[in-house]
């Protein structure tokens, strides 16, 4: 690796280029553990998506206007009039969901392979923080089009903050920039979404990658028994792993463009602070928390609900310090693997209940009305649905 002739000469006369080149060379030709394969691309996938979000986000910023009067219209202008505006908006909206999905798969991979164990605890912790920041990206970005669904999902979402013990009311007032969701909220969310979070995320990614390289990728050997990978073994980062990442990048572009064309995100109705539409639900990645909160009612119940939603995330952050077993291979860690599966299936199940709650569904040929809590009620032919009961 090196710079082409004249540039190299120019730099060499001024700086100690050997250090920089040596460093780059080492990073590029780094040997990864022999089992490094397709399961190890999800992190790169998330990073590619972050790059895509940054580029498409900057493009959107050129025409987007963060005020209640203009936001909705500016999105309409982007999708209707600006050349390829629809494409960049769709790729940004789909990219948000895919980025979270990529992170979920990345976390599943590192969890079940035991990669978070010593000495890589902090790599995992920064990873969980990255996940939380990305979710916050989604929450703040969702409001920006200033449409009905976003306005009311944000109203309900920030209302839940009110249930946090002691500081709840302040927290809600602070997040909203006032008593209710208004242009002040839009400004706040906008600043967080386009300036604060991108820098935080970029910084965290830097730390995460630095830590990842400092300890190399984990092997499947037990803690403290990992052998150093000799340079003639192991997978060369370049070209072997980089080639896999290239394949992933090509697929990603194809998937993003296909989804944008086949399943575009609708803008819906403009926000109306004086009328709540029926059936407001959050984005899919909030559905498990959304559903879980429903089971805790009343003044004290709501507080317990907030804790119930926070505990899984706290567990995730501190997990490497709680699970101190030496084994990495999933076959040797039945308890951790069991707990992980329970958590994963639980989140999927709650998310599904959240998705179908307050709708009608058919299971095995029978129509059901699914209530608020996800409980199915048989619909008998000729009878009104329970909510339409005669009075």
């Amino acid at each position: 690796m090196g710079f082409p002739g004249p540039i190299r000469k120019f730099l060499e006369r001024r700086y100690d280029t050997e250090v920089a080149e040596g460093f780059l060379d080492k990073q590029i030709h780094k040997r990864l553990p022999p089992h490094t394969g397709w399961l190890h691309v999800f992190g790169s996938l998330a990073m590619l998506l972050f790059i895509s979000q940054t580029l498409t986000g900057i493009m959107l910023l050129i025409y987007y206007r963060p005020t209640p009067d203009e936001a909705y219209k500016s999105i309409q202008f982007i999708t209707g009039s600006v050349h390829f505006g629809w494409l960049y908006r769709q790729v940004h909206a789909w990219g948000a969901s895919l980025m979270i999905l990529a992170l979920v798969f990345h976390m599943i991979r590192t969890f079940f392979m035991g990669s978070y164990k010593k000495p890589r605890e902090l790599t995992w912790v920064t990873g969980v923080l990255l996940f939380l920041v990305t979710i916050t990206f989604g929450f703040t970005g969702y409001l920006l089009p200033w449409n009905q669904i976003a306005f009311w999902a944000t109203t309900v979402g920030t209302e839940s903050a009110n249930k946090v013990p002691v500081i709840g009311a302040w927290l809600q007032y602070f997040l909203r920039g006032g008593d209710s969701v208004t242009g002040e909220t839009l400004s706040r969310f906008f600043v967080v979404h386009v300036i604060i979070l991108p820098w935080i995320l970029a910084g965290l990614i830097g730390v995460h990658l630095f830590l990842m390289r400092a300890c190399n990728l984990a092997t499947m050997e037990d803690v403290d028994a990992e052998k150093k990978i000799p340079s003639e073994h192991g997978i060369p980062f370049f070209p072997v792993h980089v080639a896999k990442e290239g394949v992933v990048a090509v697929f990603l572009v194809a998937v993003l463009v296909t989804l944008s064309v086949v399943a575009p995100w609708e803008i819906g109705e403009p926000a109306n602070a004086l009328s709540t539409p029926a059936h407001i639900k959050p984005e899919w990645y909030f559905l498990p928390s959304y559903q879980l909160l429903k089971y805790f009612e009343g003044e004290y119940g709501a507080v317990i609900g907030i804790f119930a939603c926070g505990v899984p995330f706290a567990l995730l952050v501190f997990w490497p310090f709680l699970d101190r077993g030496k084994a990495r291979h999933p076959k040797k860690r039945p308890i951790a693997v069991g707990l992980g599966l329970i958590g994963l299936l639980g989140a999927l199940f709650l998310g599904y209940l959240g998705h179908v709650s307050e709708t009608e569904q058919t299971y095995f040929g029978q129509r059901y009305h699914i209530d608020l809590l996800g409980w199915p009620n048989k619909i008998v032919e000729g009878e009104d649905a329970p909510s339409e009961a005669p009075h």
């Binding site: 009311w152 109203t155 920039g177 006032g178 209710s180 602070a273 004086l274 539409p277 059936h279 009343g298």
Partner: protein, 145 residues
């Protein structure tokens, strides 16, 4: 023994720099945090005229903003009633159902009676009432004092 107690010139300077940095840091952080705290936008005691109140028939309702918050006003047989329109559960707006004579929330199917009391559903508290004032033909609604 004596040595460890003695403050060296160097140690004193370190201490001074740390103390000054802390004071300067605080002096810059506090106004910054205060800046972020939402400034009050006045109008707390605002009384809003209900336009078209004279044309409203008993059983009809209208939702409007009072001091930046949504309020629902219902014309009863004898006079007007006003409540915060934000459901006390998670803040969706309730609507008045003329036939059933109650408020309903579209989000989690809560029902409040004509006095704002919870009839069914998840809300933890009744709808807070607002104050109605009729001055001649005109009807005003304002937040309770």
């Amino acid at each position: 023994m004596n040595q460890t107690k003695k403050t060296t010139r160097r140690g004193f300077l370190d201490w001074l720099i740390a103390a000054f940095s802390a004071v300067a840091g605080l002096a810059m952080t506090i106004p910054g945090l205060m800046y972020l705290w939402p400034a009050a936008k006045g109008g707390a005691a605002e009384a809003v005229e209900i336009s078209g109140a004279g044309q409203m028939k008993p059983g009809q309702s209208v939702t409007l903003q009072v001091g930046g918050k949504p309020v629902i006003v219902v014309r009863g047989r004898t006079g007007f009633l006003a409540f915060s329109a934000s459901c006390t559960h998670l803040g969706c707006l309730v609507t008045w159902e003329t036939q059933k004579k109650h408020f309903a929330c579209p989000c989690h199917a809560a029902v409040f009676d004509a006095n704002g009391g919870v009839v069914s559903g998840p809300p933890p508290a009744p709808l807070p009432p607002y104050v109605i004032k009729e001055i001649g033909e005109k009807v005003y609604v304002s937040a309770p004092a």
